[in-house]
Amino acid sequence: MSERESANGGWEVLPRRRFLSSTAWTAGAVATGLGSWVVPAKWASAADPIKVGIATDLTGAIGIAGNACANTARMMVEDINAAGGVIGRPLELYIEDTASNESVAVNNVRKLVQRHRVDVVLGGITSSMRNAIKDVIVNRGRTLYIYPQLYEGRECTPYLFCTGPTPAQQCDALIPWLMADGAKRFAFPSANYIWPHRLNEYARKVVEANGGEVVFEEYYPLDQIEYSATVSKIMNENIDIVFFTVIPPGLAPFVKQVYEAGYQQRGGRLSCVYYDENLLNFHPPHEMEGLVSCLDYFRAISDGGEHQFSADLHARYDAKFPDGPGFAAGSAATGIYRGLKMWEAAVNEAGNLERDDVAAAIDHAKIENGPGGGSEMVPGTYHCRMNMYIAVCKSGRYEIAQQSDGMVEPGECA
């Protein structure tokens, strides 16, 4: 059975330099329980609460992203309930850990769908996770599924809506921007799973269409920690842009080894489209200098004061979760925001929770405002239009280098 959540959500990512407080984890765990959460609706109501399920990686290699997602959902459900709930009913949040372990995840998601009978599931971060759990949710579980993370595209499954950026949204503007100063030679070092393969396939087309060249494209086991052969190739082949999709645990050794070989010193540039603010602390700033990312939101948008809505949202998140992982796009937090808001709008429009009715309403859902601006579902494609931003890392912070001219088409399932 699930335990009730403590006041501030006992399980947060360890803040650096706060080690001592974290040694109390055993006590905290016994008291509150960590595996699954129920955030009960606070106001009493005659109406049954609507159950929202979150399945995300609270622990494991990408636990930072998972906690950002869960925190975003916690904050939003509180806000929605404070504003009167959805179709007059409060929301109740069920959070399950997918633990960066697909086998554990399948069982925990079953728990959401079959035991708690949630009305919608949001979550999954890696593509492997989405692939592992989508069947349990959509086909075997007959439930709606909203996938919030940037990903490789081509997921055109009915009842599965993707609210993160697609390769078209991430690459179409980024790659020409990278090549603007004459850079032509790309390397694609990648982790060996489906997202890098498909993203690279798309990116290669854009590179070649712009007259560039992909010198090599290599795939490594996720936990590879020795990249000397790759790094040497990068150096000797005079690569201009390393467009990489290596993910943790291989990420830190990879970036370190590239830096140590002197790649940035001789003018090379790193680019990685899932890099967000939560990864800034992952490496020393000098290893990341000049790294280019392209996402639907950066903190710099809020800090720059260009978009008041984002700034308010981000400030509220920071106040609520001061120590935890930040509200960041590459951690799927913005996708969770869009997904929950669109689902809320759809349920309000449909007036009930029937899967077909809600799905039909999400299909043309729009939100006026969100992190980085508004967005809307492209009818019939299960994907969203959204604003995109290119940002460059400078001394441990992102600076916006270019902003899309209005919303960018997802270019999927057309």
Binding site: A61, G63, N192
Partner: protein, 283 residues
């Protein structure tokens, strides 16, 4: 290319050698196959992490780590491991269980996440065209030093003689007034201390996660079997072979193939030379 390749291969090899050294000492001198060895490596890495979190210098953590892990090893030997000397298979299972407990405890303590640890010696040295990581260079030097010291300790000191005597013939050793129990405890603690050192030195290069040690465990075991159990040189030679081929194969073949090739070749070699490549004894 050849120089930087050689440096990278040697540098990775020295990590493997460090891990294998402790495992090899325990396996060769005590006949115990410590399946929890990877987790003693992790414990060493974790010690450095704790120092970093507390704001203490990292090099201090690295100095303390081997002793802290040796102490844990000593306590475990006195309470648990000594029950297993009669049955090597039970020892494997028991040490595996200990490893699980250590690993999962550390996983809880670090929140199941990955943590980057800065090197105590950041930066590079430029040698002509290529640049070399200062830290990796330091690790290579420390490895050479540790191997030499361990060798001298086991081969040239009275203590080393007693250790070898306890392995060869425990009954005779006891009748010669050697406390084999004490010797075993010391040996085990020494092996664990080496594991702790390996973990402490590798964590800046590879970042801390609960599975850090397990990553090396099977490579380390293959290295020992490949080199030959029962000698000091065997495991080190095996480690050098395994480490070098792990780092070198990606230069000459597809990284995916390289990854499994090392394991396949090693197990075939062990099957063909069950006593090890670096031992003169034959069955």
């Amino acid at each position: 290319m050849p120089i930087d390749a050689a440096f990278d291969i040697i540098s990775f090899t020295s990590f493997v050698v460090l891990v294998v050294l402790g495992l090899g000492v325990i396996a060769s001198m005590m006949g115990i196959f410590n399946l929890g060895h990877g987790d003693f490596v992790l414990l060493g890495a974790y010690t450095v992490f704790v120092f970093d979190e507390l704001g203490l210098p990292i090099w201090l953590g690295m100095t303390v780590a081997p002793f802290a892990v040796a102490l844990v090893g000593l306590v475990l030997e006195r309470t648990v491991i000594r029950r297993f000397y009669a049955a090597p298979v039970i020892a494997m299972l028991g040490t595996y269980a200990i490893g699980v407990v250590i690993r999962e405890t550390v996983r809880g303590l670090i929140g199941g996440l990955y943590h980057a640890i800065p090197e105590p010696l950041p930066g590079m040295i430029d040698i002509g065209e290529i640049s070399i990581s200062k830290w990796r260079l330091t690790v290579i030097l420390i490895t050479i030093l540790v191997v030499l010291v361990s060798y001298l300790l086991l081969r040239r000191t009275t203590l080393g003689l007693k250790i070898r005597a306890s392995l060869e013939n425990p009954a005779l050793a006891r009748s010669a007034a050697i406390s084999t129990g004490q010797i075993y405890a010391l040996t085990f603690a020494f092996g664990c201390g080496l594991a702790g050192l390996a973990g402490a030195l590798m964590v800046p290069a590879f970042s801390l996660s609960a599975d850090l040690g397990v990553r090396f465990l099977i490579q380390a075991f293959l290295a020992i079997m490949l080199g030959g159990i029962g000698t000091f040189e065997g495991p080190i030679g095996g480690a050098a072979l395994i480490g070098a081929s792990t780092a070198a194969f990606p230069w000459v073949m597809n990284p995916i193939l390289a990854d499994i090739m090392v394991f396949v070749l090693a197990i075939v070699a062990i099957r063909l030379r069950p006593t090890g490549l670096f031992t003169k004894r034959r069955l």
